[in-house]
C-alpha cells in the first residue's frame, strides 16, 4: 500500500478538525506503531453537543472498514473544514471505540498493517 504514513496523518487530521469544529480547546492525540497495527487515540473536551450531532459522529465513525472506498477516496480525509469525512475514518480503520462522558469524547482507532 502506498502513502501509509500520509493516510495515518489524514485520519488524525479529520478527527482533529472535527474536534476543533465542535469547540474543543483541550485535545490529546496519542499514536502508537505496534507490531501488527497502528493505534490512534484522540481525546477532547466539549461544552455543548446535542444528541443528534453525537449520534451522527458515532454512526459515521462506525462505518465498516472498506478498502475499495479507502483506495479511491482517502485523499479527501482532513481536506475540508466545512464538512466532515468521518465515514472515511471508519472506512480506513478496523476497530473503533467511542467513549463519551459529560465533558469529553475519546475515539480509539485501530488500523491493521496487513488486511
Amino acid at each position: 500500500m502506498k502513502h501509509v504514513n500520509k493516510r495515518l496523518c489524514k485520519i488524525v487530521d479529520e478527527v482533529f478538525t472535527y474536534f476543533l469544529n465542535i469547540g474543543a480547546n483541550d485535545i490529546t492525540v496519542n499514536f502508537k506503531d505496534k507490531d501488527d497495527h497502528y493505534q490512534i487515540n484522540l481525546k477532547c473536551n466539549y461544552t455543548s453537543m446535542n444528541k443528534k450531532k453525537l449520534d451522527k459522529l458515532i454512526k459515521y465513525i462506525n462505518h465498516p472498514k472498506s478498502e475499495e472506498m479507502e483506495e479511491y477516496y482517502w485523499e479527501l480525509a482532513g481536506e475540508s473544514d466545512i464538512d466532515t469525512e468521518l465515514t472515511l475514518v471508519g472506512m480506513m480503520t478496523d476497530d473503533k471505540t467511542i467513549e463519551v462522558t459529560e465533558d469529553t469524547i475519546e475515539i480509539k482507532l485501530k488500523r491493521y498493517k496487513k488486511s
Partner: protein, 414 residues
C-alpha cells in the same frame, strides 16, 4: 458479505435484466444482432447515440448485458453493495447507451487490473475506479476504427493506450479529488478529462485528430418514457416494501449536503435510497419532457447517472437548483434549453449538487449557470474521447467556485 447484500444484488440485477428484456420486446433478435454489430464496430467519441446507431433494442441489450457483466465481476470479488456500487453500475448502464459497449471497456479495466498487480494489491481495491474509468473507452475505439495504420498496428496501439489509461487512472483519480474537495460527484470525469486532454494533445502532435460526431436520435420519447416510468415507480414501491420507515428516512436523506462521500445506503438503508432513486429518476425524465428534449441514448445516460448517484449524494433538494441554473442560462445565453449539449449539461451538471447541498440553493443555481457555459468549451480539449465531459467541466467549475464561495461564507461543521 453482509446479510442484506443479497437483496441489494437481486434488486440491481433485476433492473439490469429489465434492460435486456425491454430490448427484446421492442426489436426482433435479428434486428438486435445487426444493431449490436453496428454499435461494436465504430468509433464512440461524443456524441454517439447507440439508439441512433443500432436501434432501440440493440442499445438496451448492450446496456443490460454490460451491466450484468459488471454485476458478475463485483459478485466474484465478494463486494458489499454500497451507494458507490449502485452509482457505478447505473453509470455503466447509462453510458452503455452512449459510448460504452460490451467490447470496448475491457482494455481499460485490464489496465486497472495490471496497476493493482503492479502494486501487489487486490483488484477489488480499485474496482470502482475501473468501473467509472471506462469513460475513456472512445480513446481506444477512435484508434481501432480509424484508417491511419494497418489493422494489426491499430489493434496493438489501441490496446496499449487502453492499458496505459487504466494504469494511470488510480493514482490520478485519487490525487485530483483534492482539486474540487468532493464537490464534483463525477471525479473520474474530471480525471478522464485531464487524461484525454494529454493523450489527444500528443495525438494531434503526430497529425492524428480525433473526430467528434453528433448522432442524436429522436422520436422515441413515448416508448422509452413508458419503460422509465415502470422502472422508477417500481423503485419507489420496492423501497417502501423493503423499509416501512422509508418516508422519514427519505427526509433524512434530503438533509445531507451530498458531498463525497455520502453513502445513502449505509446512512439510511436500501429502502429509502431506492425511493430517492425513483423520485429523482421521475424528476430528471420530467425535466427532459418539459423542455421538449429527446429521450435517447445520451439523455438516458444522464437520467440513469442521476438515478445511480441518488444512492451516493444526489437528492431533489440539491439537484433542482442545478436544473434552474442551466434553465436561467438558456434565457440569457445564445443557445436553447433543449439543444443536445445543454440538455446533457442540465442532466450531468447535477454532479455539482453538493455545492447546492452544502452552500445553499442560490450557489447551486450559480454552479448550474456557470457549468452550462464551461461544458460547451472543454470538449475540444479531449476531442470527445472522454464520455464524462460534464464531469470534466464540473471539476473545473467546482475547483473555481468552492474557494470563492468559501471566501464569502464559512460555516461550522455539522
Amino acid at each position: 458479505m453482509e446479510p442484506n447484500n443479497k437483496i441489494k444484488i437481486t434488486v440491481i440485477t433485476i433492473y439490469a435484466a429489465s434492460l435486456v428484456a425491454f430490448g427484446f420486446i421492442v426489436d426482433t433478435p435479428y434486428e438486435i444482432a445487426a444493431g449490436l454489430l453496428r454499435i461494436l464496430t465504430r468509433p464512440d467519441t461524443l456524441v454517439t447515440d447507440y439508439i441512433g446507431v443500432g436501434g432501440m433494442g440493440a442499445a438496451f441489450v448492450n446496456s443490460g448485458l454490460l451491466t450484468l457483466m459488471f454485476i458478475f465481476i463485483l459478485y466474484k470479488l465478494k463486494l458489499n453493495y454500497s451507494g458507490v456500487t449502485i452509482a457505478a453500475l447505473f453509470t455503466i448502464s447509462g453510458f452503455a447507451f452512449f459510448g460504452k459497449n460490451i467490447v470496448n471497456v475491457w482494455v481499460i479495466v485490464l489496465g486497472v487490473f495490471v496497476y493493482a498487480r503492479f502494486q501487489k494489491e487486490k483488484f477489488a481495491k480499485y474496482v470502482y475506479i475501473a468501473l467509472f474509468g471506462t469513460a475513456l473507452s472512445p480513446l481506444v475505439t477512435e484508434i481501432l476504427f480509424s484508417d491511419i495504420w494497418s489493422l494489426s498496428m491499430r489493434i496493438v496501439v489501441s490496446v496499449l493506450i487502453g492499458l496505459a489509461v487504466g494504469f494511470i487512472l488510480p493514482p490520478l483519480s485519487t490525487f485530483l479529488l483534492r482539486a474540487h474537495q468532493g464537490f464534483n460527484l463525477y471525479n473520474i470525469g474530471f480525471t478522464a478529462g485531464i487524461i484525454g486532454t494529454m493523450f489527444v494533445s500528443v495525438f494531434k502532435s503526430y497529425g492524428f485528430f480525433p473526430e467528434s460526431q453528433m448522432i442524436w436520435s429522436t422520436g422515441n420519447n413515448f416508448t422509452i418514457a413508458c419503460y422509465l416510468a415502470v422502472v422508477f415507480i417500481s423503485m419507489i414501491v420496492a423501497g417502501f416494501y423493503l423499509d416501512r420507515d422509508s418516508l422519514s428516512k427519505l427526509k433524512n436523506i434530503f438533509e445531507y449536503p451530498g458531498r463525497l462521500i455520502e453513502d445513502f445506503v449505509f446512512l439510511e438503508g436500501i429502502g429509502p435510497t431506492l425511493v430517492n432513486m425513483g423520485l429523482n429518476g421521475i424528476i430528471a425524465t420530467t425535466y427532459v419532457i418539459i423542455v421538449r428534449g429527446a429521450i435517447n441514448g445520451p439523455t438516458l445516460a444522464g437520467i440513469f447517472t442521476i438515478v445511480g448517484f441518488s444512492a451516493f449524494g444526489k437528492h431533489c433538494r440539491n439537484i433542482i437548483p442545478i436544473f434552474i441554473g442551466v434553465f436561467l442560462g438558456s434565457l440569457t445565453k445564445v443557445w436553447a434549453i433543449n439543444d443536445p449539449a445543454i440538455l446533457l449539461a442540465a442532466l450531468f451538471g447535477t454532479c455539482l449538487a453538493p455545492i447546492a447541498g452544502e452552500f445553499g440553493w442560490i450557489y447551486g443555481v450559480i454552479a448550474g449557470f456557470v457549468h452550462s457555459s464551461v461544458v460547451l468549451n472543454v470538449g475540444i480539449l479531449h476531442g470527445g474521447t472522454n464520455l464524462y465531459n460534464n464531469g470534466f467541466s464540473a471539476g473545473l467549475v467546482a475547483a473555481f467556485l468552492v474557494p470563492v464561495i468559501n471566501a464569502f461564507r464559512k460555516e461550522e461543521v455539522e
